[in-house]
């Protein structure tokens, strides 16, 4: 690793001030960033750890019923604590491995927006709201392509609000070496319609499969997806799977998610 200064501010204001330095980088649980630093793929002069800041970790219910998860809440805590939203708890409980889940945070995952990460699928399929130190961002506006989000430099995710669906399910086709999603599909059924978000597949990162959403909003059964297929155009191709293979998996996993949810 290149050398850097590690700061551990104990207030949000102090963290925001430290991150105003353009050479500074926020550090959540570090389960992606630390390996990245070891490979010398990043060279921040200053790392600003967010995990000593009180008040941005934990799970609660908002007055409107939404499930609120603090930005520095680790995956393991969501897995056991998000009982109001079982599909989300299951998703969190299958990220990485137990030791990774002790450290990795929801805010870190969403800020990084890895194209194969699980949380972006949950946030997008749930129409979640990303709350930062400065504003609230709708999930539909938040994800802007591979490793790209609506966050400004130095902006910190303090909370993620998930409207709780009637039923939901996440199906992850695991890449067994990395345990990331080769393809992951999150289906969530709300009173005003069904949302389907796909991770792991597209070169543009997480996206909504709107054709499937329309079919499932009319008829929430796996059969409603018969004849629908996601286009292979723009899908990721690598040694683990071709674009056509990933596109096929989207259809299969969406059906499985609907079957498991209904």
């Amino acid at each position: 690793m290149y050398d850097f200064i590690l700061e551990r501010p104990t207030s949000l204001d102090a963290a925001v001030a430290l991150l105003s330095d353009e050479d500074a980088q926020a550090l959540g649980g570090g389960q992606t960033l630390i390996p990245t630093l070891k490979q010398r793929l990043a060279q921040p002069g200053r790392l600003v750890s967010l995990t000593a800041i009180p008040g941005i970790r934990g799970i609660c219910r908002a007055e409107d019923g939404a499930l609120c998860i603090g930005g520095t809440t680790p995956h393991g805590e969501v897995a056991t604590g998000a009982t109001a939203y079982p599909a989300l708890a299951d998703l969190a409980g299958n990220i990485g491995d137990p030791a990774v889940r002790s450290r990795g945070t929801i805010g870190g995952s969403l800020a990084n927006n890895d194209p194969s990460a699980c949380y972006p699928a949950a946030a997008l399929a749930s129409g979640a709201t990303i709350v930062t130190n400065d504003r609230q961002i709708a999930a539909d506006d938040y994800f802007q392509g591979m490793f790209t989000t609506a966050l400004e430099e130095g902006e910190i995710i303090t909370e993620v609000r998930f409207p709780v669906p009637e039923v939901a399910n996440y199906q992850k086709f695991e890449q067994p070496a990395s345990r990331f999603a080769l393809v992951g599909v999150f289906v969530a059924k709300y009173p005003d319609g069904v949302r389907v978000a796909v991770t792991g597949a597209s070169e543009e990162g997480v996206f909504r499969w709107t054709e499937a959403e329309a079919a499932l909003s009319a008829n929430f059964t796996a059969d409603a997806l018969d004849g629908l297929s996601a286009p292979a155009d723009g899908m990721i191709g690598d040694l683990h799977g071709t674009p056509a293979y990933r596109a096929h998996l989207i259809g299969v996993l969406t059906k499985r998610a609907v079957a498991a949810a209904s």
Binding site: D3, I5, L6, R8, G30, L37, A99, S102
Partner: protein
């Protein structure tokens, strides 16, 4: 350099570290406690698992300064006070849960974290929990047997 203070196996310790000093490096080089092994150094293998405030973490993927004020438990803290092996450690020996032994510190620490949360896990739960701990010798069966035995359950484990 900054000063870091934590409790390791119940004893207060402190030392000078850089921002980039990993918890694994602090334990091994700063405190000369080399029971915590560094296998892959890429958070895959789990040989470096320790407990931080009761939770299993990969000490190669956490900075020492992030453990400021924390209670850390390493493999050196797992034996009984008289130096004899703990039930879990003895079970690894009895069931040949190790061959070369390199992964064993991490295996024992992960298994201890599992049994703390789930004292009577199923075989499937044991295998699932060890997803982040790699062993290149045993094929895992004897590790699973050892953990089942340490939890007071039948050690008959079917080959997959």
């Amino acid at each position: 350099m900054s000063n870091v203070t934590m409790k390791v196996n119940g004893k207060p310790v402190s030392g000078e570290v850089e921002g980039r000093t990993l918890l694994s490096s602090f334990l091994r080089e700063g405190l000369e406690m080399t029971g915590t092994h560094i296998g892959c150094d890429t958070s895959q293998c789990g040989a470096c698992v320790v407990h931080v405030n009761g939770q299993a973490v990969k000490s190669c993927t956490m900075f020492a300064l992030e453990a400021e004020g924390a209670e850390v438990t390493t493999i050196e803290g797992m034996a009984n006070p008289d130096g004899s092996l703990s039930v879990l450690q003895q079970a690894f020996q009895d069931h040949h849960g190790l061959q070369c032994g390199f992964c064993t510190p991490g295996m024992v620490m992960s298994a201890a974290a599992l049994l703390q949360d789930n004292p009577k896990p199923t075989e499937a739960e044991v295998r699932d929990y060890l997803e982040g701990n790699l062993c290149r010798c045993t094929g895992y069966h004897n590790i699973v047997k050892a953990i089942m035995a340490a939890s007071g359950q039948d050690v008959a484990v079917a080959a997959e």
